[in-house]
């Protein structure tokens, strides 16, 4: 089975769709730590890193490296473009299912 033409191929893969859904569910202006996201998704760190890189290259997520006290922390969040892409994607899926 191939992905329908209208659907964003970057999002249309189980793992990345789950990442996008989870980041979208955090709400706007919120970021989650990399380990927190890994736990929510039940993915390995390596697997999650690969998918986040693809999403970052597409401009859908931003990865912020910072320090909390003295410990380095990596935060992940959806960009505005990513949120819009996710909304377009879910709208396209619902259209395909004639739910809207």
């Amino acid at each position: 089975m191939t992905a329908p033409r209208d659907l964003d191929p970057v999002i249309h893969a189980q793992a990345r769709l789950r990442v996008m859904t989870t980041l979208n569910a955090l709400g706007e202006e919120n970021q989650i730590t990399f380990p927190g996201l890994k736990d929510l998704l039940g993915m390995t760190a390596g697997n999650l890193s690969v998918h986040l890189t693809k999403l970052e290259e597409a401009g859908y997520v931003e990865i912020v490296k910072t320090h909390r006290v003295r410990t380095p922390v990596t935060y992940v969040a959806l960009t505005r473009q990513g949120r819009r892409a996710f909304e377009d994607y879910t709208a396209a899926i619902r259209e395909l299912l004639d739910l809207t």
Binding site: M1, T2, A3, P4, H12, A13, Q14, A15, R16, L17, R18, T21, T22, N24, A25, L26, G27, E28, E29, N30, Q31, I32, T33, P35, G36, L37, D39, L40, G42, T44, G46, N47, V50, H51, Y75, A77, T90, I93, R94, L96, L97, L99
Partner: protein, 209 residues
Amino acid sequence: MDRLEDDERPLSPEETLRLIEEQQARTSMRLGGDPLMIYTSWGVAWLAGFGALFVHYAYGSITQNMALAVLFPLMILAMAISSFAQRKGAAGQVRGESSVRGTMYGFAWAFGFACMGALGTRLSPLLPPDESGLLWGVMSMTIVAVLYMAGGAIWRVPMMFFLGAGVAVLNVIGAVGGPGLHALLMSVGAGGGFAVVGVVQWWRQRDRA
């Protein structure tokens, strides 16, 4: 990298929508914290604390001060446990607008109980002992009910809102019915209800994990 190939398999629209809905539900549940610590801790506090107050009103076998000495420390413990669960859970890994909201919400609890303490200390010496116990009980549960409803509205968690509304209804009935009825409703209704909801939610969360 083990499952990357399999993960890349495109899904049908039905599978996709199901995956989105399940992942949204799982994320919301995990962000809500451990239900046993969030709900059941409060349930046990009320079950035991208001249960002790009911024993005092119905049988007189313990003093009111002894019953309140069970209720309030347990409520403070429940508040500490539930806020610890929030910080240690998935929500503790989130920074930004929602964590600011959570901090403000936490302060609302502290300020609410501070107001209750001031008013109760002022008014209870003027009341007969049983009415004084009722005043403390109704005031504390008013704060709980209102803040649970507000929390449900802030985080859009209907169950939290309805639990708060349920406590408010029982609180009104108890306030009108008198100290014994209020203690019984808060112990069995609110306490039992929260304890059961916590266990059921925990069970559902385990199934989804």
